[in-house]
């Protein structure tokens, strides 16, 4: 009997869509199952109060792999990359803002030396990101069982490190990779309020989405991950929000014959004798396929959809050890008008605005989250997507999308209505300091704490990246030993989410790499096991 589908992809987040599209392109008959009413996962654009729409999780397009864009012809399927490229404005209460681009910086009090220092710092770190990038586009090697291709890839990395960077730079790379961003910024950038703002920006970029402050070791590494995203293109606010990007991915997948079924939550992955045979939907229906690719986070995949009893105990234990305490939250505001920021022209509001005046500021803002508390002076990344796409809000009105790096999953005393209101008010007060009159503009708001993100998008711990981006959870350790090459201990079960190498951000690379692993996979003795 032939089955209706070759492969089922669970979850229509961007990686699920990318993986399905690649599998479809390779001629597989693929069914993509999405629990929600539309695809896009955390990157979908939805209405959060009547008449106002905003991208739920990711709100800036910046790290989407250029390779994926090209291979899936996303530009033909509706991806619009023609919009305004964002710069970053680090806000100042008095209006002495600093504006930073990829390698350029300007602002009051910034000396030519400081601008030069910023440019050369970015250049240096970007060269490290370039060095690491090829490793991100392929499956991670297994250290103790190197295949030929793995050995070649590692040898290439070693060669590029030794001869591409040169002795001194290689030494510096090995020194910096494990260190904290705080010290590195002190080494390379100057002191003074303007330089401090650049440091604040880089600190915030380094810690966004992980349980760290700029003084925490490992944050240079997370910053390098961020820079790898920058290599793929500049930041943009897409027309139609990130949801439009997701739609382009869905279009590409469907063009390759992928059947997309929404509102179809999967309740379990069915197995027989250690092999995957299909999935069961929450509706009770069974769908058969020899290959199931899960875009869900590893804990959901292994512990909920599959169940620990189907796994070796050691493996199950490692799954439960994955660190995925979410600390990043989203806050959306519906505004009855465009806020006025002291010292900013209206045109500059199309950029990314940060409240992160120094690395110390970001570090202090991180402190409370360690104790399950919130800071009354949080670090903030905000954009006004309705400036790029007026259709997101009623005429003359606007939406503001805020990402907050340091909000606890569980709050001491609980995230009750009172605590939520107090927190929202404190963020409003923070913005008000830079944009007098802001409070009056707020029509409505929506707070997505990590716990809300977990509830709405299914990511365990509410972690944006499906698991901390740390050296001990990267490459052959992501998400864990035994499932780091997109394969799992169960024959036919694959992972394709951000919990896999190379990690989070809307890059599409985990989906791309996973598809390659699925297509390469030989069915080891499956025929005998499952007749």
């Amino acid at each position: 009997m032939t089955k209706q589908y070759d492969a089922i992809v669970i979850g229509g987040g961007h990686n699920g869509l990318v993986c399905a599209a690649y599998l479809g392109k390779a001629g597989k008959k693929v069914l993509l199952l999405e629990a929600a009413d539309e695809v896009g996962g955390m990157a979908r654009t939805r209405e959060f109060c009547e008449g106002y729409r905003v991208s739920a999780g990711a709100h800036i397009l910046h790290s989407l792999s250029a390779q994926v864009v090209k291979e899936l012809a996303l530009l033909d399927h509706g991806l619009d990359r023609s919009g305004h490229c964002l710069e970053t404005v680090i806000l100042d209460e008095q209006g002495a803002h600093v504006t930073a681009g990829r390698d350029s910086a300007s602002g009051e009090g910034l000396s030519p030396e400081e601008i030069e220092a910023y440019a050369s710092f970015k250049k240096k770190l970007r060269s490290y990101a370039e060095l690491m990038q090829p490793m991100m586009r392929r499956r991670p090697p297994r250290v103790a069982a190197l295949g030929f291709r793995d050995s070649v890839a590692l040898a290439k990395l070693g060669w590029n490190m030794r001869f591409g960077l040169g002795t001194e730079e290689m030494r510096d790379f090995l020194r910096l990779a494990g260190i904290n961003i705080y010290d590195v910024l002190d080494e390379f950038l100057g002191e003074g309020p303007a330089s401090d703002k650049l440091k604040g920006m880089i600190s915030l970029d380094a810690v966004m989405g992980s349980f760290t402050g700029p003084r925490s070791p490992n944050t240079v590494f997370t910053y390098l991950c961020r820079l790898m995203g920058e290599l793929e293109g500049d930041m943009q606010l897409p027309v139609g929000g990130m949801g439009a990007v997701m739609q382009a991915l869905a279009n590409a997948a469907q063009a390759h014959g992928v059947e997309v079924r929404t509102a179809a939550p999967v309740s379990s992955i069915r197995t027989e004798k250690g092999c995957v045979v299909g999935v069961r939907l929450a509706s009770g229906d069974d769908i058969d396929a020899d290959i199931v690719v899960s875009n869900a986070d590893p804990k959901t995949t292994f512990l909920k959809l599959l169940g620990a009893p189907k796994l070796e105990a050691g493996f199950a234990n490692r799954v439960s050890r994955i660190r995925n305490r979410g600390t990043a939250a989203k806050l959306h505001f519906a505004l009855r008008g465009l806020p006025k920021f002291t010292g900013l022209e209206e045109g500059q509001l199309r950029n990314r605005l940060l409240v992160a005046s120094s690395s110390d500021f970001v570090e202090l803002a991180f402190n409370p989250v360690k104790y399950e508390e919130v800071s009354d002076s949080p670090a903030i990344e905000l954009v006004i997507p309705s400036l790029a796409d007026p259709s997101l809000a009623p005429e003359g009105h606007h939406v503001m999308s805020i990402a907050l790096p340091h909000v606890p999953y569980a709050l001491k005393g609980g995230w009750d209505a009172e605590a939520r209101k107090a927190f929202i008010d404190s963020v409003i007060a923070s913005v008000e300091r830079f944009a007098p009159g802001f409070t009056e503009l707020v029509v409505d708001s929506e707070l997505l704490t990590p716990a809300d993100i977990e509830a709405q998008f299914g990511a365990t711990g509410g972690h944006w990246h499906h698991g901390e981006l740390a050296l001990d959870q990267m490459l052959m350790l992501r998400p864990l030993y035994g499932a780091a090459q997109y394969t799992t201990p169960l024959d036919g079960l694959f992972l394709c989410g951000a919990g896999c190498h190379p990690g989070g951000g809307v890059s599409g690379l985990p989906g791309h790499n996973a598809a390659a692993a699925v297509l390469k996979n030989k069915k080891k003795g499956r025929a005998e096991a499952v007749a």
Partner: protein
């Protein structure tokens, strides 16, 4: 003093300098150790600061000291005796305590008072930490390879490293890789659920470091502290009989036996360089001593930024020295006591009294102590490692009297509100004593004399930059071939004939003596002399 010439001159008579000198002298070289203080020992020193009390006023316990060196330099003969001391106690705010007992059965019951699950995890925890320590230990007495080099020696060493790791097997390699960025809180969380138990074991992850228990990388610091052994028992801590100064005394005895000399009371002002080669040193007294080789036991920052002339060094070395992370994060109180203080809930005949005492019963308290430090304050509720060494070694105080050593984490070298002043030092000391007095009603009445040492005092006396006990942070960027900085991790300085042998070099701080020995081995190789330095003999 007339014009004298030495084969090698060592700057600083700390334990590493003396170890280095002893091995060089043993191979027949003419060696001189120069020490600025009128006494030797550096930070492993014991002095009489209050009538009839011996203070080990810096380092206070020993366990990391390499047994190979102890045997090879005949330190037993020169009077060094290390006594293991009792367990460790963490007091809780509600009048209870958790103690570490040497007997596993007793320890099980003790932990089970707080969590049965944690008691069950103890064996696994100890076995695992011992396993990782055994893995790291063989690297202590070896010179780190340079990963950018193509010399056969470096490749051989890299191959040795890889082989050791490969020998672990794939799963264990991955388990070990977690230590790169694991925090001590997460590491302990793999085993224990009780916050008290975690706090009890977490101290080793932060002592001497500018990091908190939640910071990535602190799990490695914990291993660094666990690597030590007394008589082959990994993780056991000991006290040198007669105080930590006994270590320096024994090393000096050994050095003199091999014909080495020590000059005290005159510091080195500058390392002299001519035509890219070391020629000797100029002393603070104005005298010059010529030497073919100069070894600095001083930390890397001080060595390159203070003892050497900028024009003698490549510019990048100066940058590297400036960027080398040395952070003052600890202070110390040494207290002479009129009698043994009472600690509520713990009977005085409990063997735990001989151990170290802690008063932070949750990870959050320790992390908050770190937050204060980050903000440029001393911890308002510090993490203390307190020990009464006179219970193990009564010779350090008059009969019936006691000596208390209190290590304080965290205490910044620079305060946010200006420089340290005597008043601030006093206030810092009071913070520490107040915390202990919460648990000990009679402590304040028993204090005869208290010496309070912040990074300012430690730096002024011992010369450690910012008073950092490890001569540099033990973070990934400053370990192995990155210690003290990339390209100079093999004990050789940037100038011919110049070497480094302090804790700024691999494998780092703690009274381990391995940096001194490793530097001697490299020097002897350069001088084409027979090696007198032992390899790790691996006693498992």
């Amino acid at each position: 003093m007339g014009k004298q010439h030495y084969d090698a001159l060592v700057i600083g008579a700390g334990h590493n300098g003396l170890t280095n000198a002893a091995f060089l002298a043993k191979s027949g070289l003419k060696v001189l150790v120069v020490e600025k203080n009128p006494y030797i020992g550096g930070a492993s020193v014991s002095r009489e600061l209050y009538e009839n009390w011996t203070y080990s006023n810096c380092s206070y316990v020993c366990s990391l000291f390499r047994p190979e060196i102890y045997r090879e330099l005949n330190l037993a003969k020169h009077g060094l005796q290390v006594t293991p001391f009792g367990g460790s106690v963490t007091f809780t705010r509600d009048g209870n305590f958790l103690g570490s007992y040497p007997d596993p059965e007793v320890m099980y019951r003790e932990v089970a008072r707080f969590s049965k699950r944690d008691a069950n995890a103890l064996e696994r925890y100890h076995a695992d930490t011992a396993k990782w320590c055994r893995l790291i230990r063989p690297f202590l007495m070896r010179t780190p390879p340079d990963p950018t080099s193509f010399r056969p020696k470096d490749w051989r060493e890299l191959a040795f490293l890889l082989k050791k790791f490969h020998g672990l097997g794939e799963e264990q390699i991955y388990e070990f890789m977690r230590f790169f960025t694991l925090s001590v809180a997460e590491f302990l969380g793999d085993y224990f659920e009780s916050d008290l138990v975690k706090a009890h074991f977490s101290g080793s992850g932060i002592i001497g470091t500018g990091l908190g228990p939640f910071s990535p990388g602190t799990a490695y610091v914990l291993l660094h502290h666990y690597m030590g052994d007394v008589d082959g028992n990994i993780g056991t801590w000991g006290i040198a009989r007669g105080g930590m100064g006994a270590i320096a005394k024994a090393l000096a005895g050994s050095l003199r036996e091999f014909g080495g000399e020590i000059l005290t009371g005159d510091g080195v002002e500058r390392i002299l360089v001519k035509d890219g080669r070391v020629t000797g040193v100029a002393l603070e007294s104005g005298a010059e001593i010529s030497a073919d080789n100069v070894v600095s036991n001083v930390d890397a920052k001080r060595t390159f930024l203070k003892l050497m002339d900028e024009k003698d060094l490549p510019a990048q070395v100066i940058d590297k020295a400036r960027n080398f992370k040395i952070r003052g994060s600890s202070g110390k109180l040494n207290i002479a006591l009129d009698g043994l203080p009472t600690f509520t809930g713990l009977s005085k005949d409990n063997p735990l009294y001989k151990g170290d005492f802690h008063f932070s019963d949750s990870l959050e308290r320790i992390e908050r102590a770190y937050d204060d430090w980050k903000a440029g304050m001393w911890s308002r509720d510090p993490y203390l490692d307190m020990l009464i060494p006179t219970l193990t070694d009564p010779t350090m105080a008059p009969p019936g009297k006691h000596m208390m050593s209190v290590f304080v984490q965290y205490c910044p070298a620079k305060l946010a509100d200006g420089d340290w002043t005597d008043d601030k030092v006093r206030a810092f000391g009071d913070t520490v004593i107040d915390q202990m007095a919460e648990y000990s009603p009679d402590l304040k009445d028993l204090i005869l004399h208290a010496e309070v040492r912040t990074p300012r005092e430690i730096e002024a006396e011992v010369g450690l930059t910012e008073g950092n006990i490890f001569q540099g942070e033990l973070t990934l960027d400053q370990l192995l071939f990155n210690r003290p900085f990339p390209g100079y991790a093999q004990y050789r300085g940037p100038v011919k004939g110049m070497y480094m042998c302090g804790s700024s070099t691999h494998p780092g701080g703690g009274v381990m003596a391995a940096p001194g020995a490793n530097a001697a081995r490299e020097m002897l190789a350069d001088l084409k002399r027979d090696n007198t330095v032992p390899e790790d003999f691996g006693d498992d």
